[in-house]
Symmetry: C2
Subunit: 258 residues, 2 copies
């Protein structure tokens, strides 16, 4: 394609994307006020926006609201992200301990990888905490380093579920070409002895995560697994048939995956 | 039944209920700590507990954790509940405005009533903000007063959806014998011109809300309605087939309905 036409096309696409974003974020959220017509301050608004994201009320969003950059930074780097993660893990353990397992190696618990088992916070600190449009190239470079640390609450949960006899299935949106670095990173973070690590193969590229992950859960069922629990930071990790007996939404106010 | 035996039975039931509660709440949540083994303070823990409730991670719970009474009081009576409600309403309006409606009177939006259209906070202020076991008798007395105020964000949303041409279906867990006081209360709070007000009839009594409400949505579909949106403060208002195109979870950290 002619470089000028290409540049023009990109510029039009960026404009379309950003005007879409303006339509998406500004008109409704900007009118939000208390009963006396006063606008909620950033801290209050961003906390409510985060709840709306975590409950899946917000629907699709491309970047965090610009006024929430400081809020998301403080949330992720302070005690709140850790505390929220610990409470989800406690809910999960509580449920897992009450289950009657078949004990045949087919009692499955599914984990997503990014922002579920491992934290990409070191990358996102350098990428504006989700305030910048996702850059696949620089993210893949980060993935290649295989240095994402474990989420402490998830590592503890993972080991406890293994002790209870669950088969742990890792189901990630990462692609097959990232299998080696992903395994290397999981081991670096302290995860061992998973039953399967499922990544996108050629036929999965381009599928929405929700469809891709539902198809993989259906395959697991056909393979005889009973999917008791499912842990993910995205609703697209959890929703869609067949679902686990219980699904657990881990916090992630930095990005949204369809 | 002999009054003494009855009393004994009630006492055993209360003990069973409260020991169940201790099993349910304490063992996992009480171990929650940061990396250095320090217990999170009440404010941090209760905020994480609330997120866990709002995302449906917590599963069934009978009463709020006792250490969170002050937190829930401050949340409900301060700006946060209002702000969280406003942001959900903004998400809803944003979605509703983008829809192409059939315009045949069958474009439906479902609203739950309690803690969705009207607020029972005046009652719960006197009932420990969900820290006490639910008392149906005293709650029904409150319902009979028909004085629950509107949730401001919901009233605004309701009127805006009406303006857009939606048929508003009110689907409540209240029973048919409460129809008159419920209509009176809705009018008192400023709600008018709903398409249908659906309450539990004799055959619905005792059904979990999730089943009862799913059955009513199925009936609405058979009646030709397209259910675009569904607003409720309980996951049992929203989950179960058939679901609305988009479901919106309003905040409620005071009680849980199956």
């Amino acid at each position: 394609m002619d470089p000028f036409v290409r540049l023009l096309l990109i510029s039009i696409l960026i404009q379309a994307a950003s005007s879409h974003k303006i339509i998406r974020i500004l008109p409704s959220y900007d009118k939000i006020s208390n009963g006396e017509g006063q606008r909620f301050d950033d801290g209050l608004f961003c906390d409510s926006w985060r709840l709306s994201v975590e409950t899946n009320n917000a629907g699709y969003w491309a970047t965090i609201p610009s006024r929430c950059l400081g809020f998301v930074d403080a949330y992720m780097n302070g005690d709140r992200y850790a505390s929220d993660s610990e409470v989800v893990a406690a809910d999960e353990i509580d449920f897992a301990r009450r289950l009657d397992l078949a004990g045949n190696g087919k009692d499955a618990w599914i984990f997503d990888v990014d922002e579920t088992l491992v934290s990409n916070l070191p990358y996102y600190i350098g990428a504006g905490f989700g305030s910048e449009i996702f850059n696949e190239t620089s993210f893949d470079e980060w993935v290649d380093l295989a240095k994402a640390p474990a989420l402490p609450a998830s590592l503890k949960l993972y080991k406890e579920l293994q002790g209870l006899g669950f088969s742990l299935i890792l189901l990630t949106g990462r692609a097959e070409f990232q299998r080696n670095v992903t395994e290397k990173n999981l081991l670096f973070a302290g995860y061992t002895n998973w039953e399967r690590l499922l990544l996108r193969d050629a036929s999965d590229i381009g599928k929405p995560a929700r469809i891709y992950k539902s198809e993989k859960r259906a395959q697991l069922k056909r393979d005889g697994f009973q999917i008791h629990g499912n842990s993910g930071d995205q609703w697209s990790d959890l929703l869609g048939p067949p679902m686990a007996t219980r699904s657990f939404k881990l916090p992630n106010p930095m990005y949204f995956i369809k």
